[in-house]
Symmetry: C2
Subunit: 412 residues, 2 copies
C-alpha cells in the first residue's frame, strides 16, 4: 500500500467549510487504498494577523519569538483538520513539526530541513491513521521551534514524501496545474500534463507561483514525484518529475513572465578585477535580488546593466551612491516600467534556433528587446511593460503552445 503526501495551503483550510472539503479529499485518497499524510499551512490570514500583533508589541522582529508565534498558525490548522476527519469517522492524528520529527538547522525564520525522524509517523501509518502534519515548521537540535520561511509548507510536504518514500506528493492549489502561460493573460493557455524539475524551477522562479522553488529543488534532489492539482475540481493536474527522453518532445513548454522590472545601468566604471564583485556584493548585502546581468566594455571603460524588481530601485540607487567613491563610475541610469518574458523547455538545449525564433516573433510585433539572458532550458528577454501581453500572446501562438496542449488532452 503506497503512501501519498497531500499538501493544502492556507486558502484551502481558510474556513470550517473548506476544512471539511479538504477532509473529504483526504478520505477519498484513503479509500483508494493509500496511506495518507496531509501537510497543512496556517488558515487564510492567520499569519498576517499574528504578524500584525507582533508589530503592535515590538518594532523589532525577534526571529526566535516570531517562530514561536507564527508556528501556532499551522498548529491550529492541524487540530481543526484532524477534528473534521475524526468527525467523518476517519482515524486521524495531528502532529506539530517537532512531533513529526522535522529536524532543521538552528536558524530562525528561514531554517532548512536537515533530517526527518520518521519512526513516529511510520508507527501511526502502520496503525492505519491518517497523519495531519503542520507545514512550515520544525525543531532544531537544541529543542527550539523553527520555521522554514517562504514556501515552507511545500518543502515540508516534499521532504516528508522523500523521507517516507511516498508514491507522490500532491500539492493542492486553486488552479488545475501548471499552464503554458498565465491563462489570465493568454486565453488559449493550456494545462501541461508534465514538466521536468528543471523546467518547473524556471517556471517557479519566474513567477508561476503554484509551488515554491525550494520544494522543487528538494523534489529534484530526492527524486520525489510531485503533482500540482486543484483542490476544487477533480481533474488530473500537472506532474513534475524526471525529464524523460521522448522523440518529438515539444521544445518550449511554456512562457513565464514577471512585471515591475527595472533595468539599471552603471556607466563608465574603470576596468578593475573587483568592480563587479563590489557592486553586486553591496547590493546583496542590502537584500537586493539582481536578475539578469550584462557587462560590456566601451573605450577602456566598463558599463554594467542589470535588472531588478522595481521595488528595490531606491535601495539600489542609495547603495550605488554609497559606493561611488570606491567604484569611480561616471553615472547611473535606470529604466522603469519594464517586464521580463521567458520561454522555458528542456528540449531547447538540443534545438538550435529557439532563441532566434523568439526574437523573430518579437521583432514582427515591433517589440524592442532591452536585455537577453539564456540558460540551457530558457531564454529570458526584458521588454517594456506595455508590450508584455502582446509579446506573451505572440510567443504562445508562435510556438504553438495551445495546439500542443490540446493534443495532449485528447490523448489523455
Amino acid at each position: 500500500m503506497g503512501i501519498v503526501v497531500q499538501k493544502f495551503g492556507g486558502t484551502s483550510v481558510g474556513s470550517p467549510e473548506r476544512i471539511h472539503h479538504v477532509a473529504d479529499l483526504i478520505i477519498n485518497e484513503y479509500k483508494r487504498g493509500s496511506k495518507v499524510v496531509a501537510v497543512v499551512s496556517a488558515m487564510g490570514h492567520t499569519t498576517d494577523e499574528l504578524v500584525h500583533l507582533a508589530n503592535c508589541v515590538s518594532e523589532v522582529k525577534y526571529k526566535r519569538e516570531m517562530d514561536m508565534l507564527l508556528s501556532t498558525g499551522e498548529q491550529v490548522s492541524i487540530a481543526l483538520l484532524t477534528m473534521a476527519l475524526k468527525s467523518k469517522g476517519m482515524d486521524a492524528i495531528s502532529l506539530t513539526g517537532w512531533q513529526a520529527g522535522i529536524e532543521t538547522e538552528s536558524f530562525h525564520g528561514n531554517a532548512r530541513i536537515e533530517n526527518i525522524r520518521t519512526d513516529r509517523m511510520k508507527s501511526y501509518l502502520d496503525e492505519g491513521k491518517v497523519l495531519v502534519v503542520a507545514g512550515f515548521q520544525g525543531m532544531s537540535a537544541e529543542g527550539e521551534i523553527t520555521t522554514l520561511g517562504r514556501g515552507g509548507s511545500d518543502t515540508t510536504a516534499v521532504a516528508i514524501a522523500a523521507a517516507l518514500e511516498a508514491d507522490v506528493c500532491d500539492i493542492y492549489t486553486d488552479v488545475q496545474g501548471v499552464y503554458t502561460t498565465d491563462p489570465r493573460v493568454v486565453s488559449t493557455a493550456s494545462k501541461l500534463d508534465f514538466v521536468s524539475y528543471e523546467e518547473m524551477l524556471e517556471f517557479a522562479n519566474l513567477g508561476a507561483g503554484v509551488i515554491h522553488p525550494r520544494a522543487v529543488e528538494f523534489a529534484k534532489n530526492y527524486h520525489v514525484k510531485v503533482s500540482v492539482r486543484s483542490s476544487m475540481e477533480s481533474v488530473p493536474g500537472t506532474v513534475i518529475g524526471e525529464e524523460e527522453v521522448v522523440e518529438n518532445q515539444s521544445v518550449v513548454k511554456g512562457i513565464a513572465f514577471e512585471e515591475d522590472v527595472t533595468k539599471v545601468t552603471v556607466k563608465g566604471l574603470p576596468i578593475t578585477v573587483d568592480g563587479l564583485s563590489v557592486v553586486f556584493s553591496s547590493l546583496a548585502n542590502k537584500g537586493v535580488n539582481v536578475d539578469i546581468i550584462i557587462q560590456h566594455i566601451v573605450q577602456e571603460k566598463m558599463n554594467i546593466s542589470f535588472s531588478i524588481k522595481t521595488e528595490d530601485l531606491q535601495d539600489t540607487l542609495v547603495t550605488l551612491e554609497d559606493e561611488k567613491h570606491q567604484l569611480q563610475f561616471d553615472s547611473v541610469q535606470y529604466e522603469k516600467d519594464l517586464c521580463k518574458v521567458s520561454i522555458v523547455g528542456s528540449g531547447m538545449v538540443s534545438n538550435p534556433g529557439v532563441a532566434a525564433l523568439m526574437f523573430n516573433i518579437l521583432a514582427e510585433e515591433g517589440i524592442l528587446v532591452k536585455m537577453v539572458s539564456t540558460s540551457e532550458i530558457k531564454v529570458s528577454t526584458v521588454i517594456t511593460q506595455e508590450s508584455m501581453k502582446k509579446a506573451v500572446c505572440a510567443i504562445h501562438d508562435g510556438f504553438r503552445l495551445e495546439a500542443k496542449a490540446k493534443d495532449s488532452v485528447e490523448t489523455m
Copy 2:
C-alpha cells in the same frame, strides 16, 4: 539571588498595551534583584475563539486535538510578552510547556503535572534571562501536548515555583488580594494580609475565584509561598502560606458565598446499605457536583437532602427518575433560588461557639437556615437567595471583620 515566579492571567495579557504593562512589572521585579519566571495564560478571549472554531468544525470534542488547538493560545502570549520584554532591553526567552519541562499524565484536557525537568529553565536563569513560560500546558511521556484544565496556569506557576524552590509565587489578578468577603456585596469588606492554605482552599472552593483550588492544594503540598496581588495597583497583596500559631488570632477570616443553589430532597427511600451509594454514584456519573448532603430517617424510611448548582437540576431530576425503579423512593422535591453562605477560619477548630454565633446572627435577621454543613475551619449554611446580602453583611459585622482588617492595615 532568589527566584520569583509571576503568573499573569488572560486579562492581564489581553492587548499589546497590557502586555507592555506586564513586561514593566516583570522588569521591576528583575531590577529588585530577583530571577524571574513569568507564567502566562492565553490572551483574553483567545481560548473562547478557538473553542468556537472547533465547534464549527466538529460537534464532538476530541480531547487530544482540543489540547493541540488550545495550547496555541498560551504560545501566542509567551511570544508576544517576550518580544515586549526584549523591546525594553530585557534579555528574555519564551518556553512552551514542553520546552519548560512540564511533564504531565498521559491524559488530555485535564492532565496533572507529574514532574518538572528544570535543567533547561535553570540554565537560562543562570544566563540572566527572564523566562516566559506557557501556563496551562505540558507534555506527556509519549510526547503529546496536554493541557491542565481549569486553573491550569495557576497550577503551572505554583508547580514551577515548587520545582525551582522560588521565594514566592505571585499570582497577579484584577483585585488587590483575598478579601474578608466580596467587596461588591459588603462595602466594608477588607483585604486580608494572610490566609492559610486550608482557609484559602475553602475560599477558593466557595467561589472567591482569585486562585484555583488545585494550585492552592499544590502550594500546600510543596510549601510554596503564594501571594495574590493586583496587576494594576502596586500594593501588597494577600500572602497564602502555612498557618502560624499566633495568639489573639481572629477566629473567622472571611465569608464566602455562592449563588444559584438548589436543594433537592429524595423522600421515602427504603433503608438499605447501598441507597446513598447508588444515588450519588449516578449523579457523579452525570457530572453533577453535589455539595452538602443531609440524611435523616423518619418512620422506617430514609430522606436524603443535598445541594447542587441550579444549572445541574435538570440532569439531577432525570438521573433520579432513571434510578427510581431501583431506588424505590416515594418522591423528589426541590427548592430553587437558594444560596450558600460560609464562614471560614483556621481558629474555629479551637473556638467553640463560632457556629452558634453565626446561627444567632442569622436568627436575629429573621433568616431561616435550610441546610448546615461544618468542617474544622468552616461553617456553611444554605439560605434563600434574597436574604443573601443581608446575611453576609450581618455576619461580616457580627464577626467584626471590617475592624480587624483595619487594625492589620495600621500595623503594616
